[in-house]
Symmetry: C2
Subunit: 199 residues, 2 copies
Amino acid sequence: MDKQCKINAFRTGLAQFVTFEEDEWEILSQHLSFSTLKKKDHFVVEGKVCDYIGFIVQGSARHYHVKDGQEITGYFYFENELVSAYKSFLKRVPSINFIQALEKTELVLIAYADLQKMLNHPILALKMERFGRLVAEHHICCYEDRVTAFITQSPEERYTMLEKTAKDIFQRVPQHFIANFLGITPVSLSRIRKRTLLH
Amino acid sequence: MDKQCKINAFRTGLAQFVTFEEDEWEILSQHLSFSTLKKKDHFVVEGKVCDYIGFIVQGSARHYHVKDGQEITGYFYFENELVSAYKSFLKRVPSINFIQALEKTELVLIAYADLQKMLNHPILALKMERFGRLVAEHHICCYEDRVTAFITQSPEERYTMLEKTAKDIFQRVPQHFIANFLGITPVSLSRIRKRTLLH
DNA sequence: CGAAAACGTTAACAAAAGATAAGGACTTTA
DNA sequence: TAAAGTCCTTATCTTTTGTTAACGTTTTCG
């Protein structure tokens, strides 16, 4: 996949937050880099500071923790979404988790240092601040829903909801990752699926 | 409690995100309003759009959902913290939960319309965008930890962690609210406490 | 002050989830 | 292509949690 194609996809994807004018885009696009992850390559590893925000042009990834030698998947990322270990990226602290490609994945990257430059660039600053704010606000809304689900719903209800709102995820992601995402074990998810099939 | 005292507390509290210069503060402070909630007064109710972000000068509040006629407490707010139903506030949609004062609570408020004015004010815009971004980023980091706890920890581990990192909460908040916050029933929390006392 | 409400604990039972292991189907890869 | 690995299901057993209800204490409020 060539760079221009990736850049175009990125620009289109950003439009849900902010639209950049030609002169702005000129500058911004000079601060981008590109990456292709093979399946199982890592975008971030535990213990290292995450230096990039990535935009997924094609492919997917998962976010996971290692606890007692076991991997626990906490989140998925798909096309046209931003991916990063935000706390690590924003606070410059070592990541407590991994982010790994689920398949061959094409990314557009913004490095932390470049982002800071743009936030201090006279022409770009205001729009970049707004962009950052809107992205962060978007994530807050997603997180609100996710925490609400853990607080107010049973595992079975969370499964049913996921099945209703993002059925395709079951075609793209191994079921035991989804179980982790729902906060239960793979065995338990298998039981819930059987149980809910028979009403 | 008089206004000037509240304004000062607010300015100090904001310093963790952004510091405003005199001329900026001059403008910003004209867009503030003030409120005192009695115990059990609501800051937001389900079904209504949340029109304010509040800064708690004194007091505390809880965030709760009503499901099957039962209240489920999802979060607490204390002094020097911002409180709002963010998704409702940011996206202008009806809130799906309530926010209620746990005791007499003194607030400094920013109305949505005023915030928008400031975000478009030539002098304030950049700093307000940054302020908004940093607040949102701060919340993202909090949410990351909270979701991680649900994914990787058992209820007992979440209780132990809370007891270690925020012991004072048990003195300020009824235990059955904390149970909800941990994602379990009050009866279950009572059992966990007994169990963990005997090592 | 006194009645009502709120709160935490405990008990008993049912339901659900975790842990472990085994088996079969499907992929990957050497 | 054969072997190894991955993945999902199922079964069994244990542990934990949910549900409901009762009890005593404390707090709230008319």
